[in-house]
Symmetry: C2
Subunit: 320 residues, 2 copies
């Protein structure tokens, strides 16, 4: 049995309210009394029960973090950063994986609602309408999704796409394949938007595709056949699948085709050729989302974080 506030009160002959105040409003208790209480508490190994406290204060010091797929290497850095930042603010984090299923996502949010001060929604699959409805019960911060009036942390995909296209253009590529992700993905739309408005390029679109290596593998043949000398892929996983598919057809990267991914996940860094990619600020996003949630005074604040092009080995000069 862990020590409760009563045990401490009894141990040093004061009322429980005094013990309570020693922890939550120290300035209201006499220094002498305070140190007696602290000594007794330390002696008994007392720690305030956060859940009980939450009952009256309304603050749980917990938050939820909901992601589509923990095993997708894009998410762990975000989770790690958010969790670390939260710990620094004395918060604990419930992490839940929806398996890409909106219904699971909704149910998860509902059961979490009472138990947290807010929820970080990372690339949510729910409809905007549903998110807005759920937001009436618990504060949200969105990551990688924009809904008007809701605080969000966005990654500047458009800027990254622009950098990537400039890089390819600079290497002499003209005909470029755009391998997009799932239908209606925000990232895909951003990429296509930028590409469409970039002059002097001859673009070929492929999509929708699964956002995985399998997706990349599946379109490799089409990409090879379309005559493009470079590819901008939806994410690193797709890019890696693509490279593998091209290799199977004996098409060398970057010698014959250049490939750029998005995200900068670990497997891309380890791949050979090392993947040129647009790095998403995952760590900063996780941190920022936590801050946004906790200072929620800034209702609806939207932060956009810059991306960066990381040139490695999967891009090279266009062959003439």
């Amino acid at each position: 049995m862990a020590a409760t506030i009563k045990d401490v009160a009894r141990a040093c002959g004061v009322h429980v309210s005094t013990v309570s105040r020693t922890f939550s409003a120290p300035h209201l208790v006499n220094p002498a009394t305070r140190s007696r209480v602290l000594a007794a508490a330390d002696d008994l190994g007392y720690r305030p029960n956060r859940a009980a406290r939450a009952l009256t204060t309304g603050r749980t010091f917990n938050m939820g973090l909901i992601v589509a797929d923990i095993a997708n290497p894009f998410f762990p850095p975000i989770i790690k950063a958010a969790q670390a930042q939260a710990r620094g603010r004395d918060y604990h984090v419930f992490v839940a994986d929806t398996d890409e299923d909106p219904r699971v996502e909704e149910e998860l949010i509902r059961t979490l609602t009472k138990q947290v001060d807010g929820v970080l929604l990372c690339s949510p699959r729910l409809s905007s309408k549903m998110i807005e409805r759920l937001a009436e019960d618990v504060p949200f911060v969105l990551i990688n999704r924009r809904i008007k009036g809701m605080p969000a942390v966005l990654m500047n995909v458009a800027q990254g796409a622009r950098l990537a296209l400039e890089h390819l253009a600079g290497l002499g590529h003209r005909r470029i394949a755009l391998v997009s992700g799932p239908l209606g993905s925000w990232t895909s739309n951003e990429m296509q938007g930028v590409a469409a408005e970039t002059p002097g390029l001859d673009l070929v679109f492929f999509g929708p595709n699964q956002p995985t290596e399998a997706g990349g593998l599946a379109v490799a043949a089409d990409v090879a056949a379309c005559g493009a000398s470079a590819v901008l892929a939806y994410n690193d996983l797709v890019a890696l699948g693509l490279i593998e598919g091209l290799a199977a057809m004996d098409i060398g990267v970057p010698d014959q085709i250049s490939v750029i991914g998005f995200d900068d996940i670990l497997p891309g860094r380890l791949n050979r050729p090392k993947l040129t990619t647009v790095a998403m600020p995952a760590v900063a996003a996780g941190r920022m989302a936590v801050d946004l949630l906790l200072q929620s005074g800034g209702e609806g604040a939207t932060v956009t974080l810059d991306t960066a092009l990381i040139v490695r080995e999967s891009t090279g000069r266009a062959q003439r």
Copy 2:
């Protein structure tokens, strides 16, 4: 303001205790009353407050999961599986990352203690003594660590190492390098134990090493110089680093040296050559750990899960 039990009680003219029983002991309430209560609850969007419930019942329906490094690709599958299994049991999971720091780990456990029904410790860095002491306050299940009397989920590294060595021997390799991990790592010890007792092999040990690509990269030259035709690496990350280092010296894998890793993480599957590795049953371990925790009747039960050799492309016949 979310609806409370009182709102529901008022709405359908019964006492709160009746509402409470409708949810936690339905057989004690008249079917007619029950359906009225349920209707009212549904109408108001009422959901019991789990934290408040925990206060009296002592069960929080939360558990903690503590890992050394979320961003290490070995852990996400475990986290994902544990979390999914927990959700199936109506549990929520706090996930925390210790950054490999035992003090953070201890503090985390302490603050989590009151808020969970148990904690899953995944590859903990704390001393056994400390873990035993903390176990007095909250039930643990260990993953990848054995402490007498404590429930644990282990992965059969020895068996995997045996399979790997047999595979290499079968390919004609005799002189084999063993690239271990950090000092005192349980996995390293198991591997070395098996290797030492395998007859007919000429073993060269390298260690301790960082359990990362950097670690593999760093020993690549030594490994190449020692004349071994095959390497058993501490984990996939080390193996990948090793392959990269060998490639830099123009030593081909598997043509000149065969490499086997441990874990079966995603980057290994995507690498070229695709990594031959001993797959750790991460998903099963995550699930099993949750089950062990919840049925904790089986005090101290230890489950050992089998590993499997996955032969891909990084191993081949020894060259003569």
